[in-house]
Symmetry: C2
Subunit: 133 residues, 2 copies
Amino acid sequence: MTTNASRVLAHPSRDEIRVEGVLHALADPIRLRIVLQLAAAADEQACSHFDLPVSKSTTTHHFRVLRENGVITQFYRGTAKLSCVRTEDLDALFPGLLDSVLRGADLQARRLGGADASSVALSGTAAGRVEQP
Amino acid sequence: MTTNASRVLAHPSRDEIRVEGVLHALADPIRLRIVLQLAAAADEQACSHFDLPVSKSTTTHHFRVLRENGVITQFYRGTAKLSCVRTEDLDALFPGLLDSVLRGADLQARRLGGADASSVALSGTAAGRVEQP
DNA sequence: TCCATTGTACGAGAGTCGTCGTAGTTTTAT
DNA sequence: ATAAAACTACGACGACTCTCGTACAATGGA
C-alpha cells in the first residue's frame, strides 16, 4: 500500500488556523528555515531532505508545530513523510502574510550573511531563492 | 523637565531588528491587540490608554517585549509612557509584513467574533479600523 | 510639601518550549 | 525472514514565558 489509513496525520481545517499560531510557528529560526526551503521547492519534500542543525526528534517536533498551526500539510509516502506549505489556505486567510514573511526572511539573510547567510538562511541547494527575478 | 535623561529607554537599532523577533513579539494575542490599537491610532498612545485583561506589571512586560524586538518605540512624557509602532523601520526591513499581519488579524477578528470580536480584536474606541476603505 | 498618577523592579509560580537520547513502528528492499 | 531507512513516542532537562503581587521611583499638580 502506498498510503496507509492507520497513518493519517491530523491537520487543522482552514477555519481553525489562527494568525497567532502561524506567527508563533514562523517565529523559530529552524522552522522559518524549513518553510523557506519548502516554499522555494515548489513541490513537496521529505523531512530527510532537510539538513538541520538539530537531532531527528527535534526535527519531528518542529514539523509537527508547523503542521498543527496550519502552516504545512504532511502525508506519508512509503517510509518518507512529505511536507508542503498550505499556500492556498494561508493566502485566503491572511493575504500577503506568508509572502512578506518569506521575503523579509530572505532580505534579512542577504543583509546579515551575504552569500552563505546565517541563522535563517538555507544551507543546501535551493539557498535563498525566494522571489528573485 | 519634559524628557528626563535618566529615563531613556533602550531600543534596538534598525539593523538589529530580526524577523524572528518581530514574529515572536506579534505572536502573542495581547501584544497583537496592542499593536493593532497602536496602528489604528495614528499617533502615539500611553500604556494606560489600553484596556487589557492583565495586570499592570504584565502590561509593562508586553510593552517591553514589543520594544525590545523593534516593533514599537517608547518614550516618557511626564508620568506617562507613550508608544508608537516603528512603521518606517519595519517597512524598510520587511516590506508588507506589518500590514499583512495587522490585516490578517483584523480579518480573523471579523471572521470569528463578528461585531465585538474576541481574543485579538480591540475592545475600545478604534475597534477594527484597519485598512477598511 | 504632600499626594495622586503612572509606570518599574523584583521575586515567584505555573506553564510552555526547544532540545536530546533511547526505544519503538511502519514500510521497502534484499 | 531479515535488515535497512525514515520517522515517532516518551521521558527528561534547562531555559524561557506569562502571570501576578508588592514595593518602589519619577513626575506633576494641589
